[in-house]
């Protein structure tokens, strides 16, 4: 089999998604036999960009001219472009304040009032600038999802998308419902499943790290939380942690 040529890299991100790949200790040695890591600065030296890639797996949001330049290069050079992780798909944690403060205010409060501010605009998903062929969500994604992706790519296909909420998996594990029984601010109903309800399984609310599920009934979640006495501000703040824009009137 021809080894597929891969580019793996990060834009505005924490490297967690890329690291998830390196954390697949058991599968890694075999996996490395199927692909050629042509561009993967996190783990390889001697990287080249001016070749044709079978796929580019890109972590992170876009927030600087440099991010954008690399993204365009990879889009042009790759058959498939994969948005890898919540930041790449929805903006992620770096984007949480996009609706409430300007980039300049944020930059100033961190770098001081001097003249020299880094060039930076509000972090946005890859799809705002380029077409995206496949997506893996999660902050960070589940190991098994990145494995599915690489296996599918090697076979010349793309992995299927999941479309059920965290609650589905949470119920099948018979966890105590934090939203209904403990009246906590859990986002499970509107968030995409696939993580085996990791957080509720340890007794901690879903913070929404995998972004919205396709048919999210956002309006109902909002009503439920308001009824339980949470303020609209707090709810919106929580919802924005991984994705700044939600349609709070949406019913599925």
């Amino acid at each position: 089999m021809r080894r597929m040529k891969l580019a793996i890299t990060g834009l505005t991100a924490c490297s967690g998604c890329q690291l998830t790949l390196l954390n697949c200790e058991d599968e890694l040695p075999e996996l490395l036999g199927h692909c050629e890591l042509v561009y993967f600065p996190l783990a390889e030296s001697g990287n080249v960009l001016d070749v044709q890639f079978d796929a580019a797996i890109v972590e992170g949001a876009v927030s600087t001219p440099k991010d954008l330049e690399l993204l365009f290069k990879l889009r042009n050079a790759s058959t498939h472009l994969v948005a890898y992780g919540t930041c790449a798909l929805f903006g992620g944690v770096a984007a949480m304040n996009n609706r409430v403060s300007t980039r300049r205010e944020l930059l100033r409060s961190v770098f001081g009032a001097g003249e020299k501010l880094p060039e930076s605009f509000p972090p946005v998903p890859l799809a705002n600038f380029v077409s995206v062929d496949a997506a893996v969500t999660g902050c960070p994604p589940e190991k098994q999802e990145i494995m599915e992706l690489v296996v599918a790519l090697a076979a010349g296909t793309l992995p299927p998308a999941r479309s059920y909420p965290v609650c589905t998996e949470c119920r099948s594990h018979e966890n105590l419902c934090l939203l209904l029984e403990k009246r906590e601010l859990c986002l499970g109903p509107v968030v995409q499943g696939g993580c085996n309800a990791r957080c509720p399984a340890t007794g901690i609310v879903c913070e929404g790290c995998r972004g919205p599920v396709r048919e999210a009934n956002v309006a109902q979640e909002l009503e439920l939380l308001l009824e339980r006495g949470f303020g609209r501000d707090e709810i919106e703040r929580r919802m924005s942690r991984f994705k700044p824009e939600w349609d709070y009137g949406k019913r599925s």
Binding site: C14, L19, L32, F40, N97, L106, T202, R238
Partner: protein, 423 residues
């Protein structure tokens, strides 16, 4: 004629960086180290968020260090509100820190440094040239991962550790399984020092000014910072001793301690806290000549010894947890008050400080994080210049390879360093 040599992007390290060497003929004029990760402005994002959200958000600064960021943030918030935690919670947190040490050092040594020692491009070639060594390294790293995943509920950005306590405590079975896994890799962790004791093919570097947290016996209870040859200062006063400057060519700020470029991390810890217990202590004694008072070329060896130490210590922590037995304590919800809290931990790469202020509702009004890489940045830049000067006249290729290797000695984490404080 002036010329500039650029190494970009720097590879086999966490984040985006580059180095420029400015030369006048053969002479090296200056070296610029740039950390160019896109700024994510965490300290600004935290303002206006509630205290409960702070640890969950801030751990996303950096994947590799997410556990230690989360633990330090929890400690800082608990410090602000005067929250005490149980022994089980404290032991579980420390266990996760030791696991982080194992993961970080194993990943760095076996996946990022080993290619240099064997003259290959990276992990992919390693898998072909030295499959057994790579597998050994991955096996050690995997145990760190298993601990984090079991105790933290997730490998990166752990969820199970929370304010005042744990989501759930570990069962006897889980603890016993982790103990078995640790025991299996103990011999490999003990041997690692042989591999990473290879002398580096470059000239001597300046002697570092090591900086560590005290007391070393209480990894979750740091009270002070101490620097070689200086009186130690209370953690609370860190702002008076650590100054930060914005650089116009880098997105990370430069930190100086007592006006000096501090060096933090494995080598610093072994130099200032040489009384390691157990087998790691004996191992350290046998390597003293290569470590004490030495420059950063010794850091990878120090990491190898620490990796062994963390494995031994994790075993002791697990034994104590088994002795205590699993118990589910009720975690008291902290009651917010207007206060400032501060905490620090020894992250795999060195001193990490978090500090937050809250208003009476528990809304964050100030956030400040000082990372090991921000602290090390000045020393790294100084060493790069010294090394480049020491290699004047040598082939450019040889020089850039050496510079990259030196950077890897420091194991910098650029995501961590680029986000900096609010003034």
């Amino acid at each position: 004629m002036g010329s500039v040599v650029e190494i970009a992007p720097l590879t086999r390290l966490e984040g985006h960086g580059s180095v420029r060497v400015y030369r006048e003929g053969r002479r090296v004029e200056r070296v610029e180290l740039q950390f160019i990760d896109s700024p994510r402005l965490f300290e600004a994002l935290l303002l206006g968020k509630s205290f409960a959200e702070v640890p969950e958000i801030i751990c996303r600064i950096c994947a590799l260090c997410s556990t230690v960021h989360k633990v330090t943030a929890l400690l800082a918030v608990e410090d602000a509100f005067g929250v005490e935690v149980s022994e089980v919670t404290a032991l579980t947190r420390e266990l996760m820190l030791q696991a982080g040490m194992i993961q970080d050092h194993a990943l760095h040594l076996y996946c990022l440094v080993l290619p240099d020692l064997l003259g290959v491009r990276g992990v992919a070639e390693l898998a072909r040239v030295a499959p057994d060594l790579l597998k050994t390294g991955l096996a050690i790293k995997k145990v760190g991962n298993q601990i984090t995943e079991t105790a933290g509920g997730r490998l990166i950005h752990p969820v199970n550790i929370r304010l005042g306590g744990l989501g759930r405590s570990l069962t006897r079975n889980e603890l016993a399984r982790l103990r078995d896994e640790l025991q299996k890799v103990l011999p490999a962790a003990q041997e690692a020092h042989r591999l990473f004791n290879t002398p580096f093919p470059f000239p001597e570097l300046p002697t570092p000014d090591f900086l560590v947290l005290q007391p070393a016996e209480h990894p979750l209870g740091a009270q002070a910072c101490s620097m070689v040859g200086r009186a130690s200062f209370p953690l609370r006063d860190y702002r008076q001793h650590i100054e930060e400057t914005v650089l116009d060519y880098s997105n990370a700020k430069l930190s100086r301690v007592h006006g000096k470029e501090a060096t933090v991390g494995a080598l610093a810890r072994l130099n200032l806290h040489p009384d390691l217990e157990g087998g790691a202590g004996a191992l350290f004694k046998s390597h003293k000549q290569e470590l004490v008072g030495k420059d950063m070329r010794g850091n990878n060896l120090a990491q190898a010894i620490e990796m062994y130490h963390a494995t031994e210590r994790a075993l002791r922590l697990i034994d104590r947890l088994i002795e205590l037995g699993p118990r589910q304590e009720e975690t008291a919800a902290p009651s917010p008050r207007a206060a400032t809290g501060c905490a620090a931990c020894e992250a795999p790469r060195g001193v990490l400080i978090h500090s937050y202020s809250f208003d009476s509702q528990g809304i964050c009004t100030m956030a400040d994080v000082i990372t090991p890489t921000a602290l090390n940045q000045g020393a790294l830049a100084r060493d790069l210049l010294a090394l480049a000067r020491g290699m004047e006249g040598e082939e450019t290729n040889r020089m850039t390879t050496a510079l990259e290797r030196l950077i890897r000695c420091y194991d910098p984490c650029i995501s961590c360093s680029v986000h900096v404080l609010s003034l």
